[in-house]
Symmetry: C2
Subunit: 142 residues, 2 copies
């Protein structure tokens, strides 16, 4: 059940393609850099496209990185969980229903009504954990 909500404009499609192709988070200015020479010359255009894509659930914003990634399973969800490798930059989107429910339950214990839940885990991915077993790794790729 692929959800196709609104038609995307040229720029919006282009931004989504760039994010998908990158396979890793890109900042708005990374995107702007790639779009210069294609008629896009200023931040607002990029931010507007990103805003739309996030609204449509096609792109996620990683708050702790000030960057954006294409959603791995486009699906309008108010919750996103990411595992971010601080060593190689790999970002994995996790999906876990029970977690979402538990979070909603925990917050609503205090009467809170959550509309947007963001979970971002920082650490080391499997590959990087294996390589640097206990070593002081430099961290932070790209």
């Amino acid at each position: 059940m692929t959800v196709r909500r609104q038609p995307l404009s040229q720029t919006q499609t282009r931004v989504l393609d760039l994010l998908s192709a990158a396979g890793r988070p890109l900042s708005a200015y990374d995107l702007l850099g790639k779009l210069r020479g294609e008629g896009v010359n200023a931040p607002p255009t990029v931010y507007r496209a990103l805003e739309k894509l996030v609204r449509e659930g096609l792109v996620h914003r990683l708050e702790s990185l000030n960057a954006f990634v294409a959603c791995s399973t486009p699906h309008h969800h108010d919750m996103a969980t990411f595992a971010i490798c601080d060593h190689c930059g790999l970002v994995t989107e996790l999906t876990d229903r029970p977690l979402q429910q538990q979070l909603a339950a925990i917050s609503s214990r205090s009467g809170f009504h959550a509309t947007r839940m963001m979970v971002e885990l920082h650490g080391h991915c499997a590959a990087c954990s294996a390589k640097a077993h206990g070593q002081g790794a430099p961290d932070q790729a790209h």
Copy 2:
């Protein structure tokens, strides 16, 4: 078991006091504004104090707001969970061991080793949910 790690400098103490007194998140520049006239005139000083306080576990950074709050239960934890009311700005720090464990479990299923887990819930606090029952509230206080 109050943990007192390192003595704090004048500026660090001042920043922590300001955050505690505010009882809500403040940006680095909010703090700078309050510290002008006390000999603090530039961002680096504030950021350095905040960095130290975060390291000591006395202050948390809210990634989704680019702001800082005094930790409600100073305690060196790699995990913080916050419920952020988008209407009145109230921020509540939640503590839930099982959640932390579940998160660690979920991520490690894919071989990920988490060193820092951030959970930020956006929505409406109990008071604001009660007031605006279904109404289109303006959102975003301050």
